[in-house]
Point group: C2
Chain length 144, copies 2
DNA sequence: TATTGTTATACTCTATAACTATA
DNA sequence: TATAGTTATAGAGTATAACAATA
């Protein structure tokens, strides 16, 4: 298979186009990608340490301290002390933070649904049929 | 169809995961998304005005002036005057800019190809079969 | 006057280095 | 000493407002 016909080279422009489209939207709260990632992680996994958030979201530790500070000032997260280890700060998402996640998610979903509505029904079916495989592909990103 | 089962709500997490994965890569040159978008556009469409780049990439005009300035200092684009209209600046990509596009593209493609290599062959086939439909879906983002 | 682009200024986001507090 | 986190500082990136040059 020639390089320019590889599966990755075919999928990349599709991803790039969809992502650029979503990025250029004026979503209601307009959280930064990393901020949304942190909120979603806290929602999924519960209270977490600064150090762990920094590692998992691939930012520096000071960067995460500052992001958490901004999120806290915005009322989206709370910081609490760890009872076992006085050095540790535990960050948890607030109800307001969860509401922001829900609004942003709903907005992105509605935008994608509008794209599907403009598409040929046969194409829609083909994509829907491929979603489980795409989910497994996306799952591979966590594996390695 | 219930909201949480809509096509958009199924596609969104897949997109989010793949995009987060690609964004967190340490690509060789690490261009910003907008910078890469401008370079790719110039490569595709030839010399362009600041105003047009700003509109098409959805940045402010001063923002585009500044981005083009950074790209110029990095040797990735050239600015030339328009012979017909003395107000206009034409921006064009350099060979070095094209090389950066190629390196970045190759890196992303190789990363995606590695994901496919870890996937069940049947899933790969399903995704490849859906690529034309996905391309048309992505194309709808430009339509309206 | 309208259009093209730049400069001035400020804010967000992120990084590295140096620091404090706890283990 | 090592670890968790913060503070200090700087740079990239982007916005709005005010400006200069050309049409």
């Amino acid at each position: 298979m020639v390089a320019d016909e590889s599966r990755g080279s075919q999928l990349l422009p599709v991803l790039a186009q969809l992502v650029r489209f979503l990025r250029q939207l004026d979503s209601p709260d307009n959280p930064s990608p990393v901020a949304l990632g942190v909120l979603r992680r806290l929602d999924r996994e519960g209270p977490s340490r600064i150090t762990d958030l920094a590692r998992l979201e691939r930012t520096s530790q000071p960067g995460m301290t500052q992001l958490v500070g901004r999120l806290e000032r915005a009322g989206l997260v709370l910081r609490t002390a760890d009872a076992q280890d006085g050095r540790v700060v535990l960050v948890e998402v607030t109800e307001e933070g969860r509401a922001l996640i829900a609004r942003t998610h709903a907005y992105y979903v509605a935008t994608l649904d509008k794209l599907f509505d403009r598409l040929d029904p046969a194409d829609c079916e083909t994509i829907v049929a491929a979603l489980p495989a795409l989910e497994r592909l996306a799952g591979e990103t966590a594996a390695g």
